[in-house]
């Protein structure tokens, strides 16, 4: 048998049943599918933490309770920061695709600043909870579930700020460009995801659970 698997007899791919559709898939699609799959796993992770929070919500326990110590203003300010940052990161992605680098750097810098501001607000809130209300992770079930849920989210925001900063540096080094905008695209998806998780956390912890 002298034929090969690329021989003319079989060279024309079958176009019925959508065969050959993947011919236009490339490395960019790998990055996109990879990020979507990763975000599905992250959603499963945060769902678990949210379920644990819901399970212990409103259980009788020694104080301090959420109603006594959680204050809305700081949390609302943080929420505004994150929601605005989702808008700016979206603008940055559009600017990069349109090769408007000035607008890209500006909106990306604002996004990074808003993310950092959220972390500062969280730190201020935690300082008050820990040093004034003596609420720690071991104080009661509220402390346990609150610090775990908000803490894991804050870790994700921190990672996001680092990723966005790396993207800023890579763009400055001409590694992330209009032609190569997919890495930034998927980082922006991650950022949107982290913001979405915060909406769930904020609703549960500060609105429903208080």
């Amino acid at each position: 048998m002298s034929q090969s698997i690329q021989s003319p007899a079989s060279a024309a791919p079958d176009t019925r049943h959508g065969a050959g559709l993947r011919a236009d898939l490339g490395p960019a699609d790998r990055v996109r599918v990879g990020m979507i799959t990763f975000l599905i796993s992250e959603a499963a992770f945060f769902s678990t933490l949210l379920m644990a929070y819901i399970m212990y919500m409103g259980q009788p326990m020694p104080g301090p309770t959420p109603a006594e110590v959680l204050k809305l203003p700081l949390a609302v300010a943080g929420t505004i920061c994150l929601l605005l940052s989702s808008v700016t990161v979206h603008m940055a992605a559009g600017a990069l695709r349109g090769a408007r680098m000035g607008a890209f750097y500006l909106t990306l810098a604002v996004t990074i600043a808003l993310g950092a501001a959220f972390l500062v607000l969280t730190a201020m809130e935690w300082r008050e909870l820990i040093f004034e209300h003596r609420l720690t992770i071991s104080r009661n079930l509220f402390g346990t579930t609150y610090f775990t849920l908000v803490g894991f989210h804050a870790i994700h925001v921190t990672v996001g700020v680092i990723l966005l900063t790396v993207m800023f540096a890579l763009a400055k080094a001409r590694q992330v460009t209009q032609a190569n905008h997919d890495p930034f695209e998927v980082v922006s998806w991650y950022w949107h995801f982290v913001d979405t998780v915060w909406i769930a956390v904020f609703t549960l912890v500060y609105l429903v659970g208080r």
Partner: protein, 564 residues
Amino acid sequence: MAIVEGATPNGPDRAARHSAGGLQRAGARPGAAAIVSTWVTTVDHKQIGILYTLTTLVFLVIGGVEAMAIRWQLWSPDGTKIGPDAFNQLFTMHGTTMVFFVVMPMLIGFANYLVPLMIGARDMAFPRLNAFSYWLFLFGGLLTYFSFLAGGAPNVGWFAYAPLTEYAFSRDHSTDYWILGLLVSGIGTLAGAINLVVTILTMRCPGMSLGKVPLFVWMMLFDALLLVIALPPLTAALAMLLMDRGLGAHFFDTQAGGSALLWQHLFWFFGHPEVYVMALPAFGIISEVVPVFSRKVIFGYESVAAATVGIGFISMGVWAHHMFTVGMSNTLDAIFSGATFLIAVPTGIKIFNWIATIYGGRVRFDTPMLFALGFLAMFLMGGLTGIMLAAVPVDWQVSDTYFVVGHFHYVLFGGSLFAMMSAFYYWFPKVTGRMMSERLGRWHFALMLIGFNLTFFPMHIAGLLGMPRRIYTYSADRGWTYWNQLSTIGAMLLGVAFAIFFWNLFVSYRRGKPAGDDPWDAWTLEWATTSPPAHYNFEKIPVVRSRRPLWDLKHPEDPDWDHE
């Protein structure tokens, strides 16, 4: 007979081409340091697959020795050979090892090696992430086993129920090693699963639509998706447990209002999909081996594929059947019991598909097929006792007895491990270029089948007689002695069977019969390239038009695409 142009087996630069392509011994022998350096730094999917497989074989020996020590302790009533403390460590480490460091990573290793070859790709989507997955798996395993040197191995059982795992009851560090080992290897497994999903979705060769992939690839896709959804809850639960133990949090601390039940829900939400994570690739192996050795197309490709999707979805909703005895409401019991009965349907569909494939075929009883037939019979028995356990009253009677131990060993050993042995005999020629010995293979199969049934069938009876699992000894008047002694004899037979297997691997690698590219006259793309494949797999990316591209090539007068 080069099936792929350019990938000729006797090309002048064969040695050079294969220097990074498998277990091939190159002509000019590089130094030991160079070999180690090649393997440590590799990002080639085939080498990583081999690393996974060899590592899991080491863990298989360790886990097997632990099992034999357990059986040795249970040989006689009032046994004192090992003692209760070591016994607790042995059954914990046996279960943890076999689930997390043998079956799951071995199947991921097979997928690593085979999936890119089967879909006509040159590597996984993210080769460096792939290497990262392997090394995290290895270090997770080493971390768990380091506990032996650090004062004692984990002794809380492989599902580590709270509150026993809380600091108040397990004050040494063994449980921390267990948590950290699983966390580390779990992150590696998650990365590997994401890599597989992306590879299968974006790297298929021209013409290979998702409806034309080999069933092993299809099942690995859903296997990886199950891991993506089921592993993070375990990661979260392990993180919670770690915070309970290290930072004084109260998730599972019943004295401070925490819930031991929460751990059970979270662990089994991972744990039951995990059962299918270990079963689906085995189904995939069987779906490749059975048609080739029956000389027929798989019966009902579409229904096997659809049943896989069904199993994937339903397996997310059956976890609390592990918890019937903790006192859930009757409603919940009924829901989870019903879901468990339901999952038997797609699994049964597959069994019928495989039997219908064999029916009327010109069956060749080579060793891979023997193990596949063994799988069919043994897995069926495990499935049937699973249906018994899905009935809540039966479960109340036999939960946490040796009946359950017998059941899940029929599924995981009789199912997954038999399929993995089939895979070893089937793909060893592709990986090494040499056939495994058929004579030793038949001995291996016969002894394993007898030893397996001798070990695990009596456990059902001991369980029905009331013997609880995890007890380190029993008194002579319970009537369990005879059944335990049968199990122990069987375990020793299994030890002999595996010794033959390892000897077969060793001698066949050294002086097995040269295999050629396609020793089984098979139909999937991995057989179109050389054995072992060059590091780039295919010189030219293949183009396919049907589910059996090599059949089309060998039978141009009657290609498959006319019939699909």
